[in-house]
């Protein structure tokens, strides 16, 4: 084992890999710092480029973009009160008031330190928990996998958007779209044109769904409510300020690691939870929302703390925890690797490389963030009207370069329009994407289970593990409905 780890360290520590990770971090911070550009967009836009890379560097690039963009979201949250990513929303609550007090540099530094610590702890949780979970997953068969994926889909549907019903509708749409093309026994389904016989490729569907609606929104709605940017001002975080926030940083990192590992929860919920917990337990709780460094520490350590942990269900079970890991699952598949328990047996070297690369990227995040803080603070001023069409251009050229197919470009554009339609109808897109990616595996496991049981569908709930997942699904649905009813009652009370 030690020999394997040393070989993996050697393989990761090449100039090429380090440059790829550094580029990913910088790219992620830039994209994350631009309001309207999300981490999902950064990862999806990079997907076409990974097509031509080796598997591990390509995944490391995407992971670096994910981490960079999660931190980058804090830059615009602090400077212009517009979170670059949803997970930085809590950072804006204290970051912007600090920036108005002339302490933007201090806030950005605290965000960086907290992000790096959260990220590092999260990577350690990935290293310690992914392999045992994968070993456990090896013991389960098609019915259990079917129920596990159904559980993941229900959770994602429950936490995305405001309504479980609409989340499930979105998942159903994704599952249906995933059936297009040839099935496991060679039948063609919904093959309206010869191009559709091979099914819809992952890249144009997910890039179209997540990157293009932003452009269409900008053109159709033209809403821009950015605040005036603050100057960097005071730069350093003192030792006393750091030590005063350390408890919240560690607590936030733990919260991020735990919540990130649960499919569907992700960095945004982790940041909100951690911020609330820090406010409740801090001596400076009353100062939260008015410019409290500890608030930034709690939020940023939790959102970056979720990054590595979201990879636990992806690597160990093949189940993406959120949209970005859904995109990464697509990247693994493009590279011919199938995440899940078997990956730990067939591609152990790649797994070690990936885990070590993730630790290295935490260190790179610190240096990249430190070295370029001042430069990235200007990024949030780039006009959306020029940037968003550039994103379209990147998408079109990138998608064409993957498959040399105008059909895929057409799918990209159509999915952009579908994504905008879903936005208008308040239907969340995350369950759609996860369902589209998981759909073929979900169906395959279901059909295998039924075939093995000689046509009995009850096999899907025939073992204690499947009962466990069924109970979890019922629990998630019950909790989500209860939350929605509560929210509805609160709204009514507020209105009256």
């Amino acid at each position: 084992m030690l020999n394997d780890i040393l070989t993996a360290i050697q393989a990761v520590a090449t100039i090429q890999n380090l440059l790829i990770m550094a580029a990913g971090i910088w790219g992620g911070v830039i994209v994350g710092a631009i309001p309207g550009m999300t981490g999902t967009m950064a990862v999806t836009l990079a997907l076409p480029f990974t097509f031509y890379m080796d598997p591990v560097p390509s995944i490391l690039l995407l992971v670096a973009l994910y981490k960079g963009s999660t931190y980058g979201g804090s830059v615009s949250a602090i400077l212009i009160k517009t979170p670059g990513t949803a997970s930085a929303a809590c950072t804006a609550l204290d970051g912007y008031p600090l920036a108005r007090q002339g302490k933007a540099g201090k806030a950005l530094n605290m965000a960086l330190y907290s992000s790096v610590i959260g990220d590092f702890i999260s990577n350690l949780s990935l290293i310690f928990f992914a392999a045992p979970l994968a070993m456990l997953a090896l013991k389960i068969g098609p019915p259990e996998f079917f129920m596990l994926m159904l559980f993941a889909l229900t959770t994602v549907a429950g936490v995305s958007g405001n309504s479980l019903l609409l989340g499930l509708v979105s998942a159903a749409l994704g599952l249906l779209l995933a059936t297009v093309g040839e099935d496991m026994y060679g039948s063609f389904r919904f093959a309206f044109t010869p191009d559709m016989q091979a099914g819809l490729a992952i890249a144009p569907v997910l890039i179209g769904l997540f990157a293009l609606p932003e452009l269409i929104k900008l053109i159709v709605l033209r809403a821009d409510n950015r605040e005036e940017a603050a100057a960097l001002g005071a730069q350093h975080v003192t030792r006393a300020e750091f030590m005063g926030s350390l408890r919240s940083i560690l607590k936030g990192s733990a919260i991020g690691s735990v919540l990130g590992a649960i499919p569907g929860i992700g960095p945004s919920a982790a940041a909100f939870f951690s911020y609330g917990e820090a406010q409740r337990s801090s001596r400076n709780g009353a100062n939260f929302g008015k410019g409290e460094l500890e608030g930034i520490a709690a939020s940023e350590s939790a959102n970056n703390g979720a990054c590595g942990a979201t990879m636990i269900p992806l690597l160990a079970l093949g189940v993406p925890g959120d949209v970005i890991t859904g995109v990464m699952l697509g990247a693994f598949m493009i590279q011919g690797l199938t995440p899940g328990p078997m990956l730990f047996q067939t591609n152990l070297h790649e797994i070690y490389m990936l885990l070590i690369g993730m630790l290295v990227s935490s260190v790179l995040l610190f240096f990249a963030g430190k070295a370029t803080m001042r430069m990235f603070s200007h990024v949030s001023h780039i006009p959306q009207t020029l940037l968003t069409p550039l994103v379209l251009l990147l998408c079109i050229f990138g998608i064409y370069s993957i498959s040399s197919s105008m059909f895929d470009v057409a799918v990209l554009l159509v999915m952009g329009i579908v994504g905008f339609g879903m936005f208008l109808l308040n239907i969340p897109t995350a369950p759609f994407l996860i369902a589209f990616i998981l759909g073929p595996t979900l169906e395959e496991n279901m059909r295998r289970a039924i075939a093995i049981s000689r046509g009995d569908p009850m096999v899907l709930i025939s073992t204690p593990i499947t009962w466990g997942f069924a109970a979890l699904i019922v629990f998630v649905i019950a909790v989500t409905i209860r939350r929605e009813i509560r929210k509805n009652n609160d709204r009514k009370a507020l209105a009256s």
């Binding site: 599952l175 809403a223 069409p389 109808l425």
Partner: protein
């Protein structure tokens, strides 16, 4: 008609059409299915029926528990104007796909970028509009062609190399 009702109708209609019309025609059952394997239409049919049921539930929820309207943030333009803008986007995308075989990927990409920038309402930064519309596609084409060997479709400007 309120948005939730419209949403419920759209969802129900979409899944019902898939279940009742598209699956019987476009998901043929093979003559031989090995062992006890479920037929290929089983899964899409299950999903479509579940989707229809969810759509009906959404419709019932919209009727029984009306949600307060969630305003979409915009620049204050009239719905007609915004609909026209959306139609413009769809038309621009369709025109791009139609123009690629005629003008080639590069020129069609330049035209699409210019149209998109102008449609965002940007008029002031003229230098950047031109630079982005011309320079952006050229740089990406050079990058993908030289680094990855992608052969982009060429049109009437083929004698000039693009």
């Amino acid at each position: 008609m309120t948005k939730p009702v419209l949403r419920g109708l759209v969802i129900t209609a979409f899944f019902a059409v898939v279940a009742a019309l598209l699956i019987p025609v476009f998901v043929p059952r093979p003559a031989f299915i090995p062992g006890f394997a479920p037929p290929p239409d089983m899964w899409p049919r299950t999903v479509a029926i579940a989707g229809t049921a969810l759509g009906v539930l959404a419709l019932i929820a919209a009727r029984l528990r009306p949600e307060p309207p969630e305003p979409v943030e915009h620049d204050g333009s009239s719905p007609t104007r915004m609909t026209l803008r959306f139609a413009g986007v769809v038309a621009a995308f369709a025109a791009f796909l139609a123009l690629v075989p005629v003008l080639g990927f590069l020129v069609a990409g330049m035209a699409l970028t210019a149209v998109m920038v102008l449609m965002t309402g940007e008029r002031d930064r003229r230098f950047w509009i031109v630079a982005l519309s011309i320079g952006g596609p050229v740089l990406l084409l050079v990058f993908f062609h030289s680094a990855l060997g992608t052969q982009f479709p060429r049109g009437i400007f083929k004698p000039f190399g693009f």
